[in-house]
Structures are given as C-alpha cells and as structure tokens.
C-alpha cells in the first residue's frame, strides 16, 4: 500500500498579482500554469539541465508550450553531484535545472547548498513523501525496483516464474540471479535497505544471505543485471525502471516482474540549481513538469509512472496503485547507508 496521502493544502505563493489571474485561467485550460511565465521575454531562451535519463522528448513538449529551450546533459548521479559541487565552488553555474536522478543524491545536494529552494504551488498536488519539505526538490516520477526475467530460460530450465522475493531462492536460479553491488548502485542499495527495513535487521540479513548465495557476482552498475538477462548470462536480474514496459516491448523473451510482496522505489525529482541566472525560467519548468499537462506528457512519452495521481495512465504502464511499494524513509536510508554497506561487505565474504 502506498504511503499516507495527506496533502498540504497550504499555498505559499499567494503573492501572485491579481492581473495575472486572467492569464492563469487561460493557461489552466492548457493544463498548466506558472506565475513566472512571460511569453515575450522567455521565448527562445535556452536553459541547461543535468539528468540521468534522456529527457529530450519531454523537453521538446515543454518548448512547444513555452518557447523555452532546454539542453539536457545526461550523466550518472555521482557525476552530476561532483560537477555541481565543483561548479559551485568556482562560481560557474552551468546548469539551471536538475531533472531525474536518485532522490538520495538530491538530498545530499540540498544539504550541501547546491539547490535552490522553490516551493512550487503545483507541488501541493504531490504527496509529502514525493517532495522535499523545504522545496529543494519535487518528485516527478517513480523509479521502481523490479526483476528482469528471461522467460525463455525459465521455460527451458523448468523453473517457477518468480513472483515473490522467496522465489529468487529456488535451486534452479543458483548462479543465475544478477544483482548490482549496493555500494555502487542505487538500485541494489535501495533493494537491500528496503528489505532490511521491511523485514527487520535479523530476518532481513537472513534473507539477503540466501540471496547472496544465488548471485555469481555483483555488477558494478545498476544497469548491468538487465543486460545480462537479455544476453542470457543470467535468468533473473534485479533492476530499476520508471514503471515502463519498454524492455519487454523491445525484447520478446523478457518479462518485467514487480514482486508481489513489495518492492523498493524512489522518486525521480526535479530541482533548481542554486545560483542560476535564469531563475524564473527554471521555476516555469518546475511548475510545468509538475502540472497535469506536464505529468501527462511525461507519462505518455516516457511511459513513466508519475508522481501525480490525477494523471491518466496510458496503456502499458504499471499502475503504481497496483504495486505493493515498500514503505521507504529516504532520510533514514541516507543516514544508515554507511553501516549497511559495512555489514553488506561482511556478508558477502
């Protein structure tokens, strides 16, 4: 079951001038609204964005709506974080926005003062767990831990199609489960910490020990297990995705399975970079992506499970309401990280 759904009704930005109210109606028809939007001055402006996924189609949609162009540079979470740290130190602000990535890196960034707080009025639509309480970031979509399964090999080896976490421990999957290293992969860390949180320390480690025995080696990157399963090097891979079915669609022999007894997840946030010279435009983007219009575009184009619940879910997307999400405390996650990794290191030996 999903988390409590208490929504904060408070709107901070009541300072919007009256004169704009009319305008807002028009824009509401379009499905989005931002009080900072000024079509005249913003048309043709270019913003820079960092992110971990290819967001170009969504950004194109944004440009269609607003005339603002956004160039997105794809990097890994750690790379983005390091760039921001160093860029801040030198006073060179390259990116205006950061869109997609692990929530933990956003938390870390906000703690280091790399992000600019902005409580978007549209953010009120989101559940608390989906956003930072100080407005440093807002979640846009969900990343869900799932299993990539090679159905061909399941059949060939007469295995039970895994549905629950215990199914990964079946004999036939010995050496055939691929998982990344929690120390270097957010996916794996999230899985491990979620299992520990849900099952409790003792039972959790007991299960993990058995799981470890099934895995031939831990890959360095979160994306590796999926590739191994596609290649037939493993039968089940612990993976993370946006809730999309792309991998299934691209590969006939692959099935994405969301464990019935709960799975780890985290939001993919959007945030404004501290020091940006295009603050207004950045705010427009945040408002836009969090709006119904933005979320719908996001869900449609990326086949992603989005944070807003009032968005129509297109065909072929996992409805998060159907999935059993582990209750996750991101803050706790971040704090206990070192300890869990130390324990993990001992358990894999």
């Amino acid at each position: 079951n999903s988390q409590n759904s208490a929504t904060t009704a408070q709107t901070e930005s009541t300072s919007a001038p009256e004169s704009k109210a009319e305008q807002s109606d028009i824009q509401n028809d379009a499905g989005w609204y931002s009080e900072y939007y000024d079509a005249e001055t913003m048309k043709g402006k270019t913003l820079n964005m960092y992110g971990v996924t290819d967001s170009d189609p969504i950004l194109a949609e944004f440009t269609k709506d607003t005339g603002i162009v956004i160039a997105n540079l794809v990097m890994k979470n750690g790379e983005i974080l390091q760039r921001l740290i160093n860029e801040k130190e030198s006073g060179v602000v390259i990116a205006d926005l950061w869109f997609t990535g692990g929530a933990d890196t956003f938390i870390s960034a906000s703690q280091q003062g790399l992000l600019h707080p902005y409580k978007s009025p549209v953010g009120n639509e989101l559940e608390d767990i989906m956003k930072d309480k100080d407005g440093y970031w807002h979640g846009t979509s969900l990343t869900l831990v799932n299993w990539v399964i090679n159905t061909e090999l399941i059949e060939k080896n007469n295995l039970i199609m895994p549905e629950a976490w215990e199914d990964l421990l079946q004999d036939g999957l010995k050496g055939e489960v691929s998982m990344s290293d929690p120390a270097s992969s957010g996916t794996a860390y999230n899985t491990v910490s979620a299992i520990l949180q849900v099952r409790g320390e003792e039972a959790g480690w007991e299960y993990l020990d058995k799981l470890i025995a099934q895995v031939p080696f831990f890959t360095a990157r979160g994306s590796d297990p999926a590739n191994m399963v596609i290649n037939g090097e493993a039968i089940v891979g612990i993976n993370a995705s946006n809730g999309d079915r792309e991998m299934e669609e691209n590969n006939e022999h692959i099935k994405l399975v969301y464990p019935a007894d709960g799975t780890g997840w985290w939001p993919q946030p959007v945030a404004i970079i501290e020091g940006t010279e295009n603050l207004d435009e950045a705010k427009v983007f945040v408002d836009w992506i969090l709006s119904k219009r933005g979320m719908e575009a996001y869900a449609r184009i990326r086949n992603a499970a989005v944070a807003r619940k009032d968005v129509e879910i297109p065909e072929g997307i996992i409805n998060i309401n159907d999935i059993n999400l582990f209750p996750v405390d991101f803050q706790a996650n971040a704090e206990s990280r070192d300890q869990i990794l130390l324990d993990w290191a001992e358990h894999i030996q």
């Binding site: 794809v74 760039r83 160093n86 270097s184 596609i230």
Partner: protein, 563 residues
C-alpha cells in the same frame, strides 16, 4: 655548448612547456592533492589501502598479459600485412583497423552474445557454457582492441624499414630466423617498446572493459570509476588514481632508459620495397592464418553488431527490420557534428603537437627534455575520468587554475564552463599518441636529412614542414587515426566538462543503451562507426592527395610514353 637553437625554437618550446605544465601537470597534481588532502579518504585507512593494492594486483595481472599478447600480435600483424605479399591483403589491412572505429557500448554486448555462457558461438555452436566474466574476459577484449593499436603504431614505422640491413645479414649467411631475431626485431625495438608502453598504459587506464566483463574481478581503474559514479567519493577515486599512476610511471621510465643506449637510423631512410621476396612457406602460412583468424574474430564481432542493428531483436529474433535505423532519423544531428568537430580538431592538434615535441626532443637536444617527455606521456597513464576530474578541480579557478591564490574576490575568466576546456583536455590527452609514434619513427631517420635542409638554407619551420613532416607523415596519420577515433567515442574525460548545449554523439548512444534497447544501440553505434570510418577515408584521401595526384600523373606520363 652543444647544438644551438634559434629563438623561434626556444619560444615554441617554452610555449609547449607552458602548455604541458598548465594542461597536464597542473590538473594531475590537482587531482592528487585533492585526493590526499581529504580527511576521510580511503587512503588513510589501512583497509582502503589494502583494497586499492588488491585492485592494483588485478590491474597488473591484466595489463601485463594484455601488453605481452597485444604487442606480439601487433608485431605479427604489422609484419604479415606489410611485409608479406598475399591475396586479400588489402582487405585484411582494412579490416584490422576496425577496432579503431569501435562502436561504443555495444561491442562488449556483441562479444557476450557470441562468446558468453549462452553465446551464439560458444554455446549454440560449440556447446560450451563458459562464463566470459573474469580476468580472461578482460584480457581477451582488451587484446582484441589494443592489438590494432599496436598494429597501427608498428606498421607506420615498419614502412621505414631499411631492407638493405636484412640483405646484408642474409648475405652474411644468416637464415630468416636469425635475421628476424638479430636484425629485424632489434631494429623495431623503438616501436615495439613504444607500443608496449602505450598498450600497457591503455590497459591500465581502461575502466569500461572490467566493468562490463570483469564480474567480480575489478581493476584499479574500474574501481576508481565505481568510486566516483557509485560511491560519489571523488576523493578516494583520486587516491586510487595516484596508486594507478605509480606502475605507469615506472613503465614509462623503464621504456625510456631501455631505449636510449642504441641507435637505429641508417644511411638510407626509405627502401623502395619492404616486402619479402621469398619467405618460408610454413612461416608464411602460419603468419597469414594467424592474421586471418585474428581478424575474423574482429570481423565477426562487427558483423554481429550489424546484425543487431538490422534485426528485430538482437540475439533472439533475427527478422530483418529497419525500425532501429528509422529511429535514428528523429535524433538530433548536432551532437554528431559536435563530435566530429571535437575529434577532428583535437586529434590533429594533439597529434601534431606530439610529433612536434618528439621532433624537438629527439633532434634538438633541448633542456628539460626528460621532463617534457614525461609530462606529455602522463595523460596516457591517467584514466580519462580522473584526468577529467583534474580539469574540474584545477580549472574551476580563474586564470587557468592558478588564480585561486591570486584572485579571491573578483571573478575573471574561468576556463570551466567554457566550450574550449573540452578541446584542451582532449588535446592534452592526444599529445602522447603523437609523441610515441613520432619517437618510434624518428629513431629511424638519419639526422643528416634535417641538416641537409638547414644547409640548403631552409629555416626551422620550413625544415619541419618540408622534410620532417613528410617523413613522419605515416606516423602522424597513425596517431591521428587513433586520436580521432577515440575522440569520437570519448566520454569519461569530458563528462565533467561538457556543456549541455554542446553534447557529443556518444552521449546519445549512452542514453539509448541505458534504456535497454540494444538493437537501437547497435544501430546508432554502427552509425557512429560508419561515420568515423567514412571520415577517416576522407581524411586519408585528403592527406595523401598529393601522392595520388603524383601517381595519376605518373600513370599519365607512362601512357603518353606508350603513345
């Protein structure tokens, strides 16, 4: 008082030293200081050190094997393809260069699909089920790639073989074996050792192969990458980088001092033909079949990528489809242009600078030459991503990095955040390829060539461009190919410096492959490769246009004579 050099040379040399200090030493020093300064870095815990040393051992195991195998293979390939005449040689000569236009990311996927546990060849064809993951997987993949590097470096110099020496040995009664052992190979020592050094450094610094195929056998370079991208611990990464540098520097020093004792140039700088007139049939058979087998390995991989790009589902469903290719059409073309521009400019400038430095050091006997040599080679030993961090931490300060101590409040020009920084880092990285191939070749050029030019009144610049440059042309092109192709697919070094508005093509592939659509990944990688290949063809033609014109003219002359 030794050789005197003109002001011009001195100024040029000074500028080069400045460049090397600023754009190589400064970033590398920065990253080291950066790593050591941090309180909580892994370096200061015994455990961290132990961990790094463990990875170092892995690195060394892999790199030594790869260096030995790839260098030998490179020598054999260069030998077979340049000195033995046989049918189909031209084709093999072309194919052996394929690894240079390495389609990023999908190469290893192709390899796994073919030779993995359930690979097409290993499992379906041969019925084996061997895990490709582990040290041998790394070695095999690196050897396949680096042998081509070895080949091209050695081949450019093998063309300068003075065959009269072999004739002399033959005449003194030496059989082909003796000649190979006592003349041919020793005469190739400059290029062999130069190549071995580059292969060693490349293998040490390669992080992606261990990541993909290493399984739980990771090397120092891949660990470094994991530390940055997974652990977000750039400082520990810097320390790993420091440890990684130690064996690389050692290799550099060994190579340098090993060579200096002997001379390799002869009176004749070119032989009219270097092909063996006759060669033992068994040897010929062995060499040719070895080459053919090796090249077919390379070829199969590429062929399979082509298959992947045009079939519905790579590895499972081989129905022909153009959907992957069609997908490309919607893609932005600008990153491709950016990539080409970046690769072309940096590869030419880097190779040129490298050759120039090689020339200055070898022929001009200038001060600080060891230092310059070392500084220019250093980037080869530093994994790209670490070098990138170096740039990030060094050039985030004003006036090219040193303004940190001068300007505290005002904000003058900062390199970070400008488009030029990625050009600078790539040039800095490519200098060493030019340098190595330049060295290897210059060993064979009689210094009197240069002196004759001065004597006829040509100045330093004219001499360099008219005499030395043409003689070093092949080596330059070898270096250019290597730099250009690697420039087209470099990501690690520039990821910290790229501007979102100036993306490169390889990023798109990265995005696609990350999305799990390997068919499309294959298609786009292939496109990039073909583009690279096409451009190389164009460059090669342009590069040799003068010669082509001559050949054409000659043939015309001949025809006229016949008329």
């Amino acid at each position: 008082m030794k050789q005197k050099n003109s002001k011009l040379i001195k100024i040029l040399y000074g500028l080069i030293i400045g460049f090397l200090v600023y754009f190589i030493l400064l970033p590398v020093m920065s990253v080291i200081v950066y790593g050591i300064k941090s309180e909580n870095s892994l370096f200061f815990s015994m455990k961290g050190l132990e961990r790094s040393l463990g990875y170092l051992k892995n690195s060394l195991i892999v790199s030594f094997s790869v260096t030995a195998i790839a260098t030998c293979t490179g020598v054999m390939l260069a030998f077979t393809l340049n000195r033995i005449k046989f049918v189909g040689r031209g084709l093999l000569k072309l194919l052996v260069l394929l690894p240079f236009v390495n389609p990023p990311f999908v190469g290893s996927i192709s390899y796994i699909m073919l030779f993995g546990r359930r690979g097409l060849i290993s499992n379906k064809l041969l019925g084996l089920s061997i895990s490709p993951y582990g040290p041998w997987g790394i070695v095999v993949i690196q050897v396949l790639g680096l042998s081509s590097l070895a080949y091209i470096l050695i081949a450019s110099s093998i063309k300068k073989t003075d065959t009269t020496l072999e004739a002399a040995a033959r005449n003194l009664g030496a059989n082909e074996n003796d000649i190979l052992r006592s003349i041919t190979i020793p005469m190739m020592l400059p290029e062999i050792s130069s190549t071995a050094l580059l292969v060693f450094l490349a293998s040490m610094a390669d992080f992606s192969t261990p990541l993909i195929i290493g399984g739980n056998f990771q090397t120092l370079a891949s660990d470094l990458y994991i530390q940055i991208t997974g652990l977000f611990d750039m400082k520990s990464a810097a320390v790993s980088g420091l440890i990684l540098l130690i064996p690389c520097i050692a290799a550099f020093v060994i190579q340098k001092y090993h060579l200096q004792k002997k001379s390799y140039f002869t009176e004749e700088t070119l032989s009219s033909s270097i092909e063996y007139e006759e060669i033992n049939a068994y040897t010929k058979f062995f060499l040719i079949s070895f080459t053919a087998i090796f090249i077919s390995f390379i070829f199969i991989k590429y062929f399979f990528i082509i298959v992947g790009a045009f079939t519905k589902q790579w590895g499972y469903n081989y129905t022909l489809t153009f959907s992957h290719v069609n997908e490309l059409i919607g893609k932005q073309y600008k990153p491709f242009i950016n990539s080409i521009k970046l690769a072309f400019i940096t590869a030419s400038l880097g190779s040129f600078l490298g050759m120039l430095i090689a020339y200055l050091i070898r022929f001009k006997k200038l001060f600080l030459s060891n230092f310059v040599d070392f500084a220019a080679t250093l980037p080869a030993a530093v994994p790209g991503i670490l070098f990138g961090i170096g740039y990030l931490v060094a050039f985030k300060y004003p006036i090219l990095g040193i303004g940190k101590w001068i300007f505290t409040d005002i904000k003058p020009w900062i390199l970070l955040g400008t488009g030029s920084i990625i050009y600078l880092i790539m040039i800095a990285r490519f200098i060493n390829t030019g340098l190595r191939s330049g060295y290897a070749l210059l060993e064979h050029i009689n210094p009197d060539m240069e002196k004759a030019s001065y004597n006829l009144g040509a100045g330093e610049i004219e001499t360099f461009f008219r005499i030395m440059a043409p003689l070093m042309k092949d080596a330059f092109f070898a270096s250019f190919i290597r730099a250009f192709t690697s420039g087209m697919i470099t990501l690690g070094a520039i990821i910290f410096l790229l501007m979102p508005s100036n993306k490169v093509a390889v990023q798109q592939i990265f995005q696609v492959v990350n999305g799990g659509n390997i068919g499309a990944g294959a298609a786009i990688s292939l496109t990039l490769s073909l583009l690279t290949l096409f451009l190389l063809g164009v460059f090669y033609t342009l590069f040799n246009i003068v010669e082509y014109m001559k050949v054409i003219k000659r043939n015309k002359d001949r025809l006229n004579i016949w008329k």
